[in-house]
Symmetry: C2
Subunit: 256 residues, 2 copies
């Protein structure tokens, strides 16, 4: 099965969606057949790829309800090697329903196992919580990628997620790995970034990725145009950093 | 009863907690007896005021469970006129339990009505969701304050929240007002800020507050020191902007 990465952190606005979308696009540009799945009912990943309710046929919602098979929820994108499953939770009733369905922790893994066959890599964009859809993502993932925006709140969230991971490995008996800790919205030589890096290096040096994503206006702008940064402004610092990240992750995996 | 403001938006990392904490501190500095309540199990508001599990006696969790009365959950802070109720959700079991208790939408309002007597203003820091604890905050609030970080995702979230507000006014038969839309992490003359402001002015001009909070490193740094920015670095742009905001809101209310 494809290498499956859950992009997760129990804290809001740290760059989970920006990372899931732009890393998926960068893997595709590197020649990896990539599937991105939006597990957040708010649907930011879909919005930043230009999907709207009217352009989505079926999504994760329909697949979880067994209204359609998972394949019918897979959409093409502007990048030939990047496919996308929108969340398609278009009402509060649907949101309540999908959260109840997600109580079946293995639901996503069972749907994904056959559907992921054609892909080299699957990326799962998670909401800012531990329970619910994030848990079903962790149960389906080979590894997790933690985006960390410098600041106190991200540090607490990293600790919390590692504790939760330990517990999940025990109850699911699955050896979920750590793809890495990715610093996002990095502002070099600021106290907030310095403190955050120092704390992470002290506790998680082994997981800290070399690539760091700088603050880059292109990343926020691109979502207004419904494109990943590599299509909107390929030469921006943001697009460039995510391509570098893709190469770092691919070479790390090649060494194992 | 005290004027009660819910700080809410169904999107992560837009500055809800930073706004709730620093606006509460600024109201206190302006002479308003202020109560800040942390409704997010992640507990960022408590962390940014220096509270830890060991320094918290009882919190919202205990009050919701009727283990203690609400008064026992109220803590003093470094500012004489600012008191604080921590969320005190210290485990996943507690998180599950408080979410079930919050299904009783009026729980917070009923606890707050007597407890809010001594205060001029109550601020409620909400998690990045609509359901659950945010709904109980909206049911207790006189008005909502929407922090908006420039970007596509915030715009969608504003629309979603206004729709939800309409629905809530119908089902609760309560005339919840809008304190205002507050631009946070504003970067003047960037495309993302310009587009966001233009969209908000087109649809919500009436609600758009004059004060905007600029990007200010002091706001992130202050939380590492467990203080609001007005105590950590009073002359920073961030602290200054929140004090200006407090005065704008107080004068708007005085005019009504
Ligand atoms: N490197 C960056 N430079 C500038 N802006 C960025 C960067 N990364 C993310 N952003 C912006 O920060 C905001 C939050 O990012 P994003 O939505 O990806 O975070 P998230 O963790 O997915 O949030 P949520 O918890 O709500 O799902 C977005 O407006 C995004 O455009
Ligand atoms: N004006 C600002 N300048 C610089 N940094 C800021 C500013 N406002 C907030 N931040 C930082 O942005 C991050 C997100 O802010 P905050 O936690 O207040 O958002 P939130 O909406 O409460 O997030 P969540 O949805 O997770 O509850 C924090 O690290 C905070 O320190
Ligand atoms: Mg997201
Ligand atoms: Mg918050």
């Amino acid at each position: 099965m494809a290498h499956t990465i859950a992009v997760a952190l129990p804290k809001g606005g740290v760059g989970k969606t920006t990372t899931a979308v732009n890393l998926a696009a960068s893997f595709a540009v590197e020649g990896q057949r990539t599937l991105l799945v939006d597990l957040d009912p708010i649907g930011s990943a879909g919005a930043s790829l230009g999907f709207t309710a009217s352009t989505v046929g079926a999504g994760l919602y329909e697949a979880f309800n067994f209204v359609t098979n998972f394949g019918a929820a897979i959409h093409h994108t502007e990048l030939p090697l990047l496919d996308f499953v929108p969340c398609n939770v278009t009402s509060l009733q649907r949101e309540d329903r999908i959260l109840r369905l997600a109580d079946n922790r293995t639901l996503l893994r069972n749907l994904l196992r056959p559907a992921a066959q054609p892909y080299d890599c699957v990326l799962l964009d998670c909401p800012p919580a531990l329970r619910g859809l994030t848990t079903t993502a962790l149960a389906a993932a080979d590894a997790i990628l933690l985006p960390v925006r410098p600041g106190l709140f991200s540090l607490d969230a990293v600790d919390k997620l590692f504790t939760y991971l330990d517990w999940m490995r025990e109850v699911t008996n699955r050896p979920i790995g750590v793809e890495g800790i990715l610093i996002t919205m990095h502002e070099p030589r600021t106290r907030v970034s310095d403190i955050t890096l120092r704390e992470l290096a002290a506790k998680y040096r082994h997981h800290l990725l070399t690539t760091m994503i700088p603050r880059s206006t292109a990343l926020g702008e691109a979502s207004f145009y419904g494109k990943p940064a590599v299509l909107y402004e390929a030469r921006s610092q943001g697009a460039d950093a995510y391509r570098t990240l893709a190469r770092e992750l691919l070479s790390r995996r090649a060494e194992i």
